[in-house]
Amino acid sequence: MSADLDPVIHSQARLRIMTTLTALPAGDRLTFPRLQQLLDATAGNLSTHLRKLEDAGYVEVVKSFRGRVPSTEVGATRDGRRAFEDYLAALQALLTPPAAPAARTDPEADRSATSPQEER
């Protein structure tokens, strides 16, 4: 059933990470502690999932220094945003039953058939 869903994103943890990063305007990044706070996650666990997303090219992890304090910032890449959009579209397709044959009058099917797919 979930054959079309990108396995890199198709985990609750990584889906929440990608949702968080793509909720920001393109080009924006979050510091690691702030991302951790928005996800209510442990640092080690978050690092593990970020590494998988980074290996896939979906997020970039930028390490720098602010004065002498090390700072880690995380942002979704262009590929990551596209993969996330594709994932959402695939998810939506799974949730939308295929067009009903001829004279079917299921109000549920009607509603989902007319629901807007993507906002842009």
């Binding site: 909720a23 979050l30 702030r34 996650a41 442990t42």
Partner: protein, 231 residues
């Protein structure tokens, strides 16, 4: 609180993220919930800001109006002290709130917010300079009453309108237009009534704005304005 991944023991901290896939409906719900949480946590809360400033204007200008009326027992000095303290509370609440909501953000959003901060800070510094200059050059109490009430309101109204236009936020634009109209009405009503007009129309308008935003939020909890939002 500001932990770094390199030197943090994986065992400390809140909890491991729930892992593994869930069914599609649950995953879609997860996206909607997390997106709403992020938007709510990183964007300023208009209700808080309009509410604080609406209350500060209503009470602050109300005090000045009371002091204008003989027999109220409130001295002009005490009224201005109260007014100043309320404005200071507004500035502190706003600064703390915006700093918290922007914490950990970098990139275009951060630059945008910093420029907005400078816009408000510099324009109000110029307003303060104008008031000081008029006071020192012997402007009458009548002139001071009008200028010190109307000019700041004009700046607020203009910045709200411009902000509303840039963000595509018609509510903010409308509120700015209302504040501009209130400022004009205050100016035309003259020194005897300007404080009352600014308290009721200005402060009252901001409080109504806060209420309208509140109703909007409670009626559609996940008003995310981000592209690609699942329907």
């Amino acid at each position: 609180m500001q932990a770094h991944p390199e030197n943090v023991d994986p065992a400390d901290g809140p909890a491991d993220l729930a892992d593994g896939p869930a069914d599609p409906a649950a995953m879609a719900a997860l996206v909607a919930a997390q997106r709403a949480h992020v938007v709510r946590s990183t964007n300023p809360d208009a209700r808080l800001l309009y509410g604080v400033w609406g209350a500060a204007w209503l009470v602050g200008f109300g005090l000045l109006w009371l002091a204008d009326r003989s027999g109220s027992g409130l001295t002009v000095g005490a009224a201005y002290a109260g007014f100043g303290a309320l404005m200071l509370v507004g500035v502190v609440v706003t600064a703390v709130h915006l700093t918290r909501r922007s914490s950990g953000l970098s990139g275009s959003s951060k630059a945008q917010r910093q420029m907005l901060g400078w816009t408000w800070g510099l324009s109000f510094s110029a307003v303060a300079a104008l008031n000081t200059s008029l006071g020192m050059s012997g402007a009458s109490d009548q002139v001071m009453a009008v200028v010190t009430s109307v000019v700041p309101a004009l700046v607020v109204g203009a910045l709200y309108m411009a902000g509303g236009a840039v963000w595509g936020d018609s509510m903010q634009f409308g509120l700015g237009a209302w504040i501009c109209v209130a400022a004009a009405a205050g100016a035309l009503s003259g020194p005897a009534h300007v404080h009352l007009v600014m308290a009721v129309a200005g402060g009252g308008g901001l409080l109504i704005g806060a209420l309208v935003y509140h109703l909007r939020v409670t009626r559609s909890p996940s008003r995310a304005r981000r592209p690609g939002a699942p329907s």
